[in-house]
């Protein structure tokens, strides 16, 4: 498993570096562009114009904060479509490369004609996915921190709660890992990368959209949705994370990887 992890990471370092730089740059840009867009007043006036539906979509429900300041604005960058879109695409792509792409190209025959078990192969690839998703979130947080050091208002930068942003990054990592593990099941079932990509993307987008449907989101099934447990604004406000949410997301990673391994260990490689 260790060798598979290491070789996969070595093969993928360039795309990981590109995505990591992009995510870090995005978070850096959100911070340093804050004065340029008009600062706090401009942000507050814009947010006040948001209809309830958009507030729900962006998860800035009015009862969660007394006001909407720089701290909340920066937390919103962790729910920005750029971060979520690229983050989800990254983990889905990593997951579909893990099995389906290798079956399609035939690379899997070279690997598995060695004394490597299918479980080792899958767990090594899953580990690389988790590591890469974690690195993306870490670089996002780092970009945010670096951006804050460049803010003209030094006092504002100093007051930013980077521990809380780190908690958000941690939950974002768990969310991306849960999405990746779900996509890993898809990958273990498919023999064509394009099919796996399509179904994997549907899984990531579909679960996000389901979370926006109130009667689904509020049902017990809605609680199982990984997106249901990703709430940056709440973490910023409370300064803590729900252990139940962390447990659910870790559960997704464990169960998703386990199911993917179970399927992969038993299927025909064709």
């Amino acid at each position: 498993m260790g060798k598979i992890f290491w070789f996969t990471l070595q093969r993928n370092w360039l795309s990981l570096a590109a995505f990591g730089f992009g995510i870090g740059f995005f978070h850096w840009l959100v911070v340093i562009s804050f004065p340029a867009i008009g600062g706090l007043n401009a942000v507050q006036s814009v947010v006040q114009t948001f209809p309830d539906g958009l507030r729900t979509l962006l998860r800035i429900a009015p009862n969660l904060q007394g006001g909407f300041g720089l701290v909340e604005y920066l937390a919103l960058s962790w729910f920005h479509p750029f971060f979520l879109g690229f983050g989800s695409a990254f983990v889905v792509q990593r997951a579909t490369n893990a099995v389906a792409a290798d079956i399609e190209t035939g690379a899997i025959y070279l690997t598995l004609s060695r004394p490597i078990s299918r479980w080792s192969l899958l767990l090594g690839r899953a580990l690389e996915l988790l590591f890469s998703a974690g690195l993306l979130c870490l670089l996002g947080w780092l970009g945010q921190w670096l951006g804050a050091q460049l803010l003209p208002e030094a006092a504002a930068a100093a007051s930013l709660p980077f521990t809380r942003y780190a908690l958000i990054a941690f939950v974002a990592w768990l969310l991306l890992s849960a999405l990746g593990s779900g996509a890993l099941i898809v990958s273990a079932l498919c023999s064509r990368k394009a099919s796996a990509d399509g179904i994997g993307a549907t899984w990531a987008i579909g679960t996000f959209l389901l979370e926006l449907v109130p009667f689904v989101a509020e049902s017990p099934i809605g609680w199982l949705n990984p997106w249901h447990h990703y709430f940056p604004q709440e973490i910023i406000t409370s300064g803590s994370i729900s252990l139940a949410s962390v447990g659910l997301l870790i559960g997704w990673v464990v169960v998703g990887t386990g199911v993917a391994g179970f399927i992969f260990a038993r299927r025909d490689l064709i």
Partner: protein, 302 residues
Amino acid sequence: MINLTDVTKRHGKHEVISDLTLNIESGQTVGFVGANGAGKTTTIRLMLGFLRPTAGSVQLLNCDMNNARQAQSVRTQIGFVPDSNGLAPTLTGERLLDELAELQDAPPVDRDKVVDALQLAQRDLKRPIGRLSRGTRQKINLIQGLQHRPNLLILDEPTEGLDPFATRALFSLLSEAKARGTTIFFSSHILSELEGICDEVALIRQGRLVERFKLKNNAGVTQHQVRLRLTQDAGSGTINGLISQLKAATWVGALAVADDLLIFQADALSPLLETLATLPVAELSIAPLSLEERIMPHYGLN
């Protein structure tokens, strides 16, 4: 070494392999022949545990390939050259070979020798595989299968894309491996390339093993196709006597009589010549029997 017993493989309702039994002893080199889509690659994937048989059992080196642990342990001794191009295009050949050697848990003791034999330039090993020609990629594919000096070599269309020089070098390497006692299972649809290296040939057609035969008899003699006609003054008694004698002989096979022409296969030439010494022979031709001549009749082609 290789034991497939009553193996059947279905994809949905389609039976790809039907009741296939194939036993190959240690040290043998067996050619696996069939038309495109006959089931050669499926059989190999069954052997290596990539596919699970619908029925029957698959054993390599006495290990059950449907048992994940046993299959994993036996793969330390296997070298596999797949037909598909699964070489990672972004990696250099050198890097890929290093990775695969590390996964094999066996040092690539023969890599330099195989690289030299196949005349693969060092600069090609340092280029990304995606930028290499098909033939060069196939050389890397061969190196990864041979570099750790396996006890069992499974080759699926190994000469695809190779130039004649590399093909010759490959056969020389395989001959060396064979001399060392390596068991070789060689799948191909190019019959001529099997004749020089294989002890036996197994023919698969529409998922069924239709024939298996030795290319040389136990004394190492190649089979011959004999066409014989006696002179017209030889009486019918002489001709019938000869036919009876040939039918009874163990070294004669596939005897056919067309008018007064006798066509048969002979495993040994000495008893044939002894038999013919006292007969009035008008016409005689003896030619080594090619693999093509043996196989084409199965496809209705002569």
